[in-house]
């Protein structure tokens, strides 16, 4: 595949934008990068998917080794990772058999529905007001700079967490997205996890999930090293900016931004479906 310097610069810039939004919202950024690479730059779908998964790993690594790591709920992350990696593995096996048109349609409808739910729950905080309350086996507590309070939360609807995480892992490999676009709203809106903890925990598991898919794409020869390098470096730069912005943003603003991003993603996927 021939590359000009201009194309590499465009890939890097697109990666920076995707990385910034991805780290701000904990959704990986692949959901922006795949449409940009395929629709915007005309790069074939498989190298675009492989590149996107590699950038998801880069975003995840940046978030998990940065200041947000204290928000990661490691035990919940380990539980989710089993479901997402299983989903990712099944996605890799299904990749050659499913109609992509139908898949894009389902994805568009799901993201639209999640966006609507997020918008209806903008002012709902998933926290227990008593700081001495016990978070349970999978819940956690952390200090929130925004309010200066000790935040305690418990996990609700565990089967939904596992089912949604499996679907997220499956779509991650099929569509080259991080899967956080499903897990962050799911954890926040239905399962009782505050938005910042949901984003950080999701980012932790996304790296593992994306690795599962990226290994398979790499083994099949779909990774174009120069393209991937430009995108990953762009994403790393964007992630730094996103993490700084995320530390200052309030929870309501993050939820609103996530809902808007989901609407855009839904529209993009719907366009690809028809």
């Amino acid at each position: 595949m021939p590359f000009s310097l201009g194309l590499l610069a465009a890939v890097m810039a697109g990666g920076a934008l995707a990385g910034g939004l991805g780290s701000l919202l904990g959704i990986g950024g692949g959901v922006f990068l795949v449409p940009f690479l395929t629709l915007g730059l005309g790069i074939p779908i498989r190298p675009a998917l492989a590149t996107s998964l590699l950038t998801v790993i880069a975003t995840s690594t940046a978030i998990s080794s940065g200041p947000s790591r204290e928000l990661i709920n490691l035990r919940l992350g380990l539980l989710i990772a089993v479901a997402t990696v299983t989903g990712s593995l099944s996605g890799a096996i299904m990749a050659g058999t499913l109609s992509s048109t139908g898949l894009y349609g389902v994805f568009a409808a799901s993201t639209f529905a999640i966006a609507v739910v997020m918008l209806t729950r903008l002012d709902v905080r998933n926290v227990i007001l008593d700081p001495d309350a016990q978070p349970g086996t999978l819940g956690a507590r952390y200090h929130e700079d925004e309010s200066g309070r000790e935040i305690v939360y418990r996990i609700r609807r565990l089967p939904l967490v596992l089912g949604g995480s499996f679907a997220a892992g499956n779509l991650s490999t099929l569509l080259g997205v991080g899967g956080g676009v499903i897990t962050v709203p799911l954890l926040n809106a239905w399962c009782g996890v505050p938005i910042r903890a949901a984003a950080a925990t999701s980012a932790f598991t996304l790296g593992v999930t994306a690795t599962s898919g990226a290994i398979i794409y790499y083994g099949r020869g779909d990774v174009v090293p120069v393209l991937a390098a430009a995108a990953v470096l762009g994403v790393k730069l964007g992630s730094l900016a996103g993490l700084r912005a995320g530390a200052r943003a309030n929870a309501r603003g993050l939820k609103l931004l996530l809902a808007l991003v989901l609407m855009v993603v839904s529209a993009l996927m719907m366009r690809r479906a028809f």
């Binding site: 690594t61 299983t86 593995l89 593992v208 090293p225």
Partner: protein, 87 residues
Amino acid sequence: MGVVLRAANIVSTVMLVCGLLMWIRGPNGESALVVLNIALLLLMAAPAFWLMDAVAEELRAREWGFAALGIMTLALLCGSLIVALNG
């Protein structure tokens, strides 16, 4: 967990920058592609490293159930490797 991730992050970033600069100076250079491939493999290995670290942490805390979950995820990643090697 932070140390392993930061190290993998820094080394892979430096190698990606070097590889890309080498490729720009001489496109299609074999050595540039070798450096880029190693950097990407290191990037892909990072989550497995921190998963191992998480498993070790749970084993130290005698939380056998969570340690088992981590080991199960590592086994699934090995499954991906097998799928990849078989095309």
